[in-house]
């Protein structure tokens, strides 16, 4: 079956196995071929692809228990975050950490150790994981937790499926009083102002900036910085207080056909950017429903098709705090000079995090996407050394293009991770197109 990541870039034929009971998993590990787990395929590149055996975890998707008093959910790894939210939100609970789409599996969230707009306050997804069950290379299932098995926990959260198959997880949810978010928007005329806005608002629960990658010169890095807080009952208009979780169901629309690639040329992106910027400048403070706030793209199913047949590639890096401004400035200069527009460009401040293989570190992260045409790919490859030279690194859940050399140069943890994989025999059993490309 032809499979690709969410970017639809460079699909390959994979043998897909779809277990419907956890007991089937051990059997898959006995063959000659290495395997890799696949969640809902929302990683952009190839971490969930393996020609010989890709194990779809989507049908291991039972919720096992939920305690509405403590907010602890136990569920199989294939459960979608979207389903978690629709089950628990009416009872006043919400995920502590969520990525920008809710169509991800809990297993995929753990394997990428995803971050949300609140990383600077709550950290990455691992902060909410109480334990998880992992099928290891020997076919045995082990319970992995930060207390009992700190090392394996650290390697598995962010380990991109390379330590084993996650079958179930216990996660701690966070209390909310409503399904609404109080959003405040700050227009920042350039990068320095955007960074200042983040630093001045370090206490905001959620913060993220939409950045205009095509702005140049004095406007370089102009952004809309968006802050958010879960609205409490008093924040809601009276009419909404009786049913604070009823935010209305949005119709999900599909992109009906593959847009021709030229629709997203630099002119349309520039126009879009201008419009968004001027519209946003007027906005100040407003109440936004949770779907529009956290998952603006989810209302258009299969929006990844707007990039046409060749697909698209993502780029996400993080710079250490001290070198963020310099690194970001150079990146943005390259991008705006090339005039290659990114439909989505997002800037975010990370709080401190030190882990075996997870992406976040304290500093600033920038995420961009580009149509997968040769010009854009050439540009991306020019961006890599800028990240390296400023002590930054790349997010593997977004990567499709790094080579092993650049990867090892940017991630000082790679040799240890690779050695661990070889010594434990995990490398022979769990492997993806990405892990082979990166030499880990």
């Amino acid at each position: 079956m032809k499979l690709s990541g969410w970017g639809r870039y460079s699909p390959v034929d994979c043998r897909v196995l779809t277990p419907r009971a956890e007991a089937e998993l051990a059997g898959y590990l006995q063959g000659e071929d290495p395997v890799i787990a696949r969640g809902n395929g929302r990683a952009y590149g190839d971490p969930a692809l393996n020609e010989a055996a890709t194990i779809s975890m989507r049908r291991l998707d039972r919720m096992i228990s939920f305690d509405p008093a403590t907010g602890v959910l136990v569920a199989q790894a294939g459960v979608l975050l979207a389903d978690v939210i629709s089950s628990v939100l009416p009872q006043g609970w919400f995920p502590l950490v969520t990525p920008g789409t809710r169509f991800v599996t809990l297993g995929g969230m753990a394997a990428s150790d995803v971050h949300g707009k609140n990383h600077h306050v709550h950290g990455s997804f691992r902060a909410s994981v109480l334990w998880l069950d992992l099928v290891e290379a020997d076919g045995q299932t082990r319970r992995v937790s930060p207390e009992a098995t700190p090392e394996l926990f650290d390697q598995t959260l962010g380990g991109m499926g390379l330590t084993g198959l996650i079958t179930r997880l216990a996660i701690q949810l966070t209390r909310v009083e409503s399904g609404w978010i109080r959003q405040e928007t700050i227009a920042a005329p350039n990068l320095k102002a955007a960074i200042n806005a983040f630093e001045d608002n370090a206490g905001a629960t959620y913060s993220v900036a939409w950045i205009d990658c095509l702005a140049r010169g004095a406007d370089l890095g102009r952004s809309l910085v968006m802050l958010g807080e879960h609205a409490c009952l008093e924040d809601l208009p009276r009419t909404r207080r009786r049913r604070p979780f009823a935010t209305g169901r949005k119709a999900l629309r599909k992109v009906p056909f593959l847009f021709p690639g030229f629709v997203l040329n630099r002119w349309t992106v520039r126009a879009f950017n201008r419009l968004y910027y001027w519209k946003g400048r007027k906005a100040t403070s407003e109440l936004v429903d949770w779907e529009s706030y956290f998952y603006p793209l989810d209302s258009i199913l299969e929006w990844n098709r707007i990039y046409g047949r060749r697909g698209f590639v993502q780029f996400q890096c993080v710079f250490p705090l001290a070198r963020s401004e310099a690194g970001l400035t150079q990146l943005l200069q390259q991008i705006s000079e090339a005039g290659e527009g990114s439909f989505l460009a997002v800037l975010k401040r990370f709080g401190p995090q030190e882990s075996a293989f997870s992406f976040p570190m304290e500093g600033y992260t920038l995420a961009l996407d580009f149509p997968a045409r040769p010009r854009s790919i050439a540009l991306l490859k020019r961006l890599f050394p800028i990240v390296r030279d400023h002590g930054g690194r790349f997010y593997l859940a977004k990567d499709a293009l790094l080579d092993a050399e650049m990867f090892f140069e940017t991630d000082g943890r790679a040799p240890d991770f690779a050695t661990m994989r070889t010594e434990t025999g995990r490398k022979d059993v769990f492997s993806s197109r990405q892990s082979r490309r990166l030499g880990i």
Partner: protein
Amino acid sequence: MQLAARNTAGLADIKTDLELRYGVQVTTCELDVLQTGALEAFIDSLPELPITVVCAVGTMNDQEDNEQSLEAATLDMRSNFEAPALLLGLFANRFEARGRGTIVGISSVAGDRGRASNYVYGAAKAGFSAFLSGLRNRLASSDVHVLTVKPGFVATKMTEGLDLPEKLTAQPEELGEAIFTAVRKRRNVIYCRRIWWLIMLIIRSIPEGIFKKMSI
């Protein structure tokens, strides 16, 4: 919600899952539809006569086995036609007496025309479709609604390992939603994905003299 299956090992997990997701109460019971003598007792033993009954039972053997082994062919015929039809027939009588209810039978596009590649399964589904159509005709004047569901390809255990064309293959959730909408709108027959309606229209309209020489 009441769940019945012959394999009860998995039912407890499904029950918990449904209760957590939808806040509904779920009961479970064991049912092997091939034990047709026990079907009446099964219905009587239910905590409550349901408002809607959905039958998703089916088996699909290798066509070659079905050609060579009477046992295999019998199993497909009984599991796809005889047993589901008898079961839904019993529900129909009770729904009619009560004066309302909805009956959903999952048949297949394979029942729309017999093809060399799976005509034993297809014939059983054809019988099931005809049975549901007759039931609907009989109950049209009562308030009992009969829905025939004709899936094309669905990515389930039944089709595991087959190389199905992506555009023609529904995910089980998609079929679930299509059935839910069709029940609400009181539709008679649905195809899922909808394109299968057109495909089967074309396949049905090919003259037999040509059709018999084709391999599709």
